[in-house]
Amino acid sequence: MADAQAVEDRIAVASNWKLVWWRFRKHHLAVFSAFILACFYLVVVCPDFFSTQNPEQTDARQAFVPLQPLHLFDENGWNPWVPAIVGKRNPVTLRMEWTPDPTKKVPVSFFAPGPVYRVFGLFPTNIHLIAAATPGQRIFLLGSDRLGRDQWSRIMHGTQTSMTVGLVAVTLSVIFGVVLGGISGYAGGTADQVIQRLIELLQSVPTIPIWLALSAALPRDWTPIQVFFAITVILSLIGWTTLGREVRGRFLALREEDFVLAARLAGCSRMRIILRHMVPTFLSHIIATSSLAIPVMIINETSLSFLGLGIRPPAISWGVLLQEAQNIQTLALAPWLLTPGIVVIVAVLAFNLVGDGLRDASDPYSH
C-alpha cells in the first residue's frame, strides 16, 4: 500500500523524459536495438579501428577470396584464429579456386597493430580491433571482392557513409519539417495554404524517379564529398513532407489548447509560446518520427547508390558495395558480396524497432 502510494507519487513528479524512458525500457527488443545502433555509431566514429586493413587495398591475385570466419578458441582454449585459404588455378576456366584449409590456422589478435590510419583524420595510430598476428598478412573475415579488396573493412567504411547520410538527411528533413510545418500550423492563412499545396505536390510525385533525375543532374566532376552532401540534401528535400504535415497538425491542435491560451494571456511572446510551451509537448514525438524516417533514408540512399546515381566510388557506402553484387554470375561465385545487404537490413530493422518503441513511449495516452 505504502509502496503503491510511493510509486504513484514518483510518477506524479517525474519529468516527461523520465516517463518516456520508463515506458521505453519496457520494450526489451527496442532497448536491444538501441544497443545495436550504438554499436553502429561506434563504427561511424572510427571505421578504421574496426577494419582489418585498408579498404582500398587491391590485389588481383586475391580476388573473390571466400569468408575466413573468426574462431575464438581452438583445442587448447583461447586462441583466436581464422582458417587459411589455399588457391588453385582451375586449368579449364583459368579461374582461381579457393578452398579453406582448416588444418592451417592463421592466428589473429585483438587490439593489435595493422596498417596505419588517423583517428578523426588527426592522430596517427596502427591499432585495430582485429588484425592478423603476422604483420602484413591479409585476412578476409567476409571475403574479398573482384579486385581483392577486403569486404569486412569496406563494410566498416560503408557504414560510416550510409549511417551518416541517414542521420544528416533526417536532421535536415526535421529542420525543414519543423520550420515549414510550424509556420503553416501556427501562422495559418496564406502561408499555410502555400505550404500545404507544396507538401501535396511533393507527396504526389513518384519519389525515386525525381531523386534519380536530381542526382543525374549532379556534375560528374564533383568530389565524393560534394556528391555526398548533394545526395543528402536531395533526400531530405523530398523527405520532410510527412514530418511537416505532422508538425502542422500538432500546432493546429495545440493552438486551441487552454495552456497556450493561458500563456498568451500571461503575456508570453509568440516565440516563447512556440519554443517553451508548444514544441516541448511534441518533441518526443518528433524524435520518434525522425527515428522512423532514418531507415527510409538509408534504404533510399542504398537504392540510389546501387543504381549508380547516389554516392559514387571511390566513396564507399552500403549501396556502392552492393553494386558489386549486381551481376548474378558473379553473385553465384561469391555470395558473400551480399553481406552489405544483411548489414542494411539489420540497421533498418534496429531503427524501426527503436522508432516504434520511442513512439509508443512518447505517447502519453498509451498503456
Binding site: 500500500m1 503503491a4 502510494q5 504513484e8 498503456h367
Partner: protein, 337 residues
C-alpha cells in the same frame, strides 16, 4: 412479488488483468430484478456499473473476465446461468438483442457512421427472425420510429447517425433496442450525453414504453435525480460492491449507508438555501490498483470506526424487509476473510 426474479446476479466478480496488476472492477455483487421492475444502479463513474451490465450481456472484453459468480436469467423453460454460456456462442447470441437489449451510453458513437440508422435497425430485426423480409423489417422500423417519437420516420430511416440530433439519435437507439421486444432492457447512462430538456423527454418516453410493453429495465446512472424519476428499486454501488439496496423510497427518504447519505447531500435542492456551497464527498475515488482494505468506502467515510472499518469488509445484510445495507453502523457481519 410472486413471480420468480427475471435476473438473479449472485456474488459476481469481474477482474481485469493488467501489466500493473489485477483490477477487481466488480467484487462480489448480488441483486435481483423482477419482471416489470425498473432497477436503478447508481454510483460514481468507475464503480463497476457498466462492467456489470457488460457481464450480463457477456460482452466483457479481454483482459477482463468474469472470475466468479452466477448470472441467472429466468426463461419460461427455467433459469439459465449466463456466465456458463460461451460469450460468442449461438445460445448467447440468440439472447442478445432478442431478449436482453442494450441502450448504450453515447448514441453518437454507438451507431456506425457509414451505415444508415435504418440499415442497422433492420439488421437487428432480420437477425432474430422478427420479420420475414427486409421490406417488412423496414416497415417495422418505421413503426418503431413512430413509437419512439421520431417525426418524419420515412425520411429519418435513411439518415446517417451524424445527421441526427443527440435526442433523435438516442430515440433511434431505443427503437433499435426495442426492435425485437426484449424482456430485459439495459440502459447504460442513456441520458448522460444529452442536454437536460431532451433528457426529460427521453426519460418520459422510456417510462411510457416500459408501461406499454411491460419490459424490465436496469437503469444505470450516476445521476440520483434520474433514478428518483425512473426506478422502483435502487442499488447503490461503490468500487464494485453493493453499499445499499432498497426501494426508491427507502433510499431517498431513509438512507442508511454513509455513502448514500453523502450522495444525497451533494444533490442540489430546490427548496434549499441559495448561495451556499453544496457538501461534497471528501477525498477521491481510489486508484483501481490501490483498493483500500476493509470497507472500500472507509477512507472517505465521515463515520468510519477505527476498530473495524479498515480491517474487515462488511457484508450486505437485509436489516429491514427489502432494505439491504453493507455497513458496520447497522450490523456486524463481515465477509469471511
Amino acid at each position: 412479488m410472486n413471480a420468480p426474479p427475471l435476473l438473479r446476479v449472485r456474488d459476481l466478480h469481474v477482474s481485469f488483468k493488467m501489466d500493473e496488476g489485477t483490477v477487481r472492477a466488480v467484487d462480489g455483487l448480488s441483486f435481483d430484478l423482477f419482471p416489470g421492475q425498473v432497477l436503478g444502479i447508481v454510483g460514481e463513474s468507475g464503480c463497476g456499473k457498466s462492467v456489470t451490465m457488460k457481464a450480463v450481456l457477456q460482452l466483457i472484453e479481454p483482459p477482463g473476465r468474469i472470475s466468479k459468480g452466477e448470472i441467472l436469467y429466468q426463461r419460461d423453460s427455467g433459469a439459465i446461468d449466463l456466465t456458463r454460456l460461451p460469450p460468442k456462442g449461438a445460445a448467447m447470441r440468440a439472447l442478445r438483442g432478442a431478449e436482453i437489449a442494450l441502450i448504450p451510453q453515447e448514441p453518437m458513437a454507438a451507431f456506425s457512421p457509414v451505415h444508415t440508422v435504418g440499415d442497422q435497425i433492420v439488421e437487428a430485426i432480420m437477425l432474430h427472425g422478427a420479420a420475414g423480409s427486409r421490406r417488412e423489417a423496414r416497415a417495422q422500423t418505421i413503426g418503431l420510429f413512430r413509437d419512439v417519437g421520431i417525426s418524419m420516420p420515412e425520411q429519418r430511416i435513411d439518415a446517417y447517425s451524424w445527421q441526427l440530433s443527440g435526442g433523435l439519435r438516442q430515440r433511434a437507439m431505443i427503437a433499435m433496442a426495442l426492435s425485437c421486444h426484449p424482456r430485459l432492457l439495459i440502459a447504460d447512462e442513456p441520458t448522460t450525453a444529452i442536454d437536460v430538456t431532451t433528457q426529460a423527454q427521453i426519460l418520459a418516453l422510456l417510462r411510457e414504453l416500459q408501461a406499454k410493453y411491460g419490459t424490465s429495465i436496469i437503469f444505470i446512472t450516476h445521476d440520483l435525480g434520474v433514478i428518483a424519476q425512473m426506478a422502483d428499486h435502487v442499488v447503490v454501488m461503490y468500487l464494485g460492491r453493493v453499499m445499499e439496496e432498497g426501494t426508491v423510497d427507502d433510499i431517498f427518504h431513509a438512507p442508511k449507508h454513509p455513502y448514500t447519505q453523502a450522495l444525497l447531500r451533494s444533490m442540489p435542492n430546490m427548496h434549499g438555501e441559495t448561495r451556499t456551497a453544496l457538501p461534497i464527498i471528501s477525498g477521491a475515488l481510489p486508484h483501481p490498483f490501490n483498493r483500500p482494505p476493509g470497507c472500500p468506502f472507509h477512507p472517505r467515510c465521515p463515520d468510519a470506526m477505527a476498530d473495524r472499518c479498515a480491517t474487515r469488509v462488511p457484508m450486505p445484510v437485509e436489516t429491514e424487509p427489502g432494505h439491504i445495507v453493507s455497513c458496520f453502523l447497522h450490523h456486524d457481519e463481515a465477509e469471511p476473510a
